[in-house]
Subunit: 216 residues, 2 copies
């Protein structure tokens, strides 16, 4: 398949496509039109057709998209079938919550182990995942070569921990530390910004009564 340059905006939308297609697939829906998919996702049908055309031809005029095929292909594009190895660094409350509740497997990752500095946690398991001491990180990475690290350490040690992970061959960091990390090119950082989402909610509840007042 010929892969063209894909814009950042399209890449950002792909996980949402995957999520919606995955839900439809789980419900046993067989096909969907770009119109119906657009309505569910709150984007236009033409946007959908344009986005998905970057990756080849999935839809058929008058039939719509075959959900099983499209889900598999979007998943493939996202690398869900690559089973990248992943570690969690920091098993405090946030790390614990992710280990307990987040489905790493259905996002295409293999979660091996977690690391922490706390003697109270080292050697215990959360949801079947062993917590190792952070001093085991070097040996572990040399043996297993994890591609991605979930960074859930305190802000104060975020940058040094990221640098250490990168020096050990980690290529992607899922960053929950609220610190802007400085990394070399070829390393990918995906920041989780809780505030962006809460501010969107703030906007909606602030704007709602105001719009009512304005239209009255």
């Amino acid at each position: 398949m010929k892969r063209q340059h894909i814009s950042d905006a399209v890449i950002r939308r792909l996980p949402r496509y995957y999520r919606y297609l995955d839900e439809l697939h789980a419900k046993g829906v067989v096909r969907i039109s770009s119109n119906s998919l657009g309505k569910r996702m709150g984007i236009t049908a033409s946007q959908i057709r344009q986005d998905l055309s970057c990756f080849g031809e999935f839809g058929q005029q008058g039939y719509g998209y075959n959900i099983t095929a499209l889900r598999a292909e979007v998943g493939h594009i996202l690398g869900v079938d690559e089973k990248h190895r992943l570690i969690v660094v920091g098993a405090g409350h946030l790390g614990h919550a992710l280990l307990q509740n987040f489905d790493f497997v259905s996002s295409g990752f293999r979660l091996d182990t977690a690391f922490d500095v706390s003697p109270a946690l080292i050697g215990s398991t959360i949801n079947g995942v062993l917590i190792r001491g952070i001093n085991e990180l070097e040996d572990y990475c040399a043996a297993v070569h994890p591609a991605v690290a979930v960074l859930t350490v305190p802000k104060a040690v975020a940058q040094e921990t990221a640098a250490r992970l990168i020096s050990l061959g980690v290529r992607g960091i899922w960053n929950f530390t609220n610190m802007e990390l400085t990394v070399e090119s070829g390393i990918f950082v995906e920041d989780v910004h809780f505030a962006d989402s809460l501010l969107t909610l703030s906007y909606r509840i602030s704007a709602a009564p105001q719009l009512e007042k304005e239209s009255s």
Copy 2:
């Protein structure tokens, strides 16, 4: 100020504008051109000018944007100065992590209290915030009228807890439960989808070596 219909895509970008402007403001930067801001944010200068023009005129030709003024205005649009009251419902690991680390104040919310069912937690404080028993919810809401609830309860009780909160006057739900909530119109739910962010990272580390191979 006349407020026009604002598209969902613009609303989604506003918190990012606010975050970047807030960082620049904290660093003492006084003004910035749409070009420089665009480069930092990874969007085009014309997109920025178009987005911000929805809310009035902020930029000056040849001068750029005054960061203090623009940050204040974007914050105002987002409702950051409204100090909506917020409660956290569910003080397990994720709720605990948010109570401990998330800066609700700088997102414009007043965090009063949290609720949980666990006798071990009720009566304790996290970061100065009191955890109350969930059976106090009705009396508390009747007295204090919180506008927003952070929903960090187990998936199995997500929908019923949301319905209970809405019946008590809560208008916005920041939903961490990974459940699609059904709510009446006029109620706003902002879902936090961790997987979307991780899948973006999966795409990047999967695509990187592939693109190298293709270009070689």
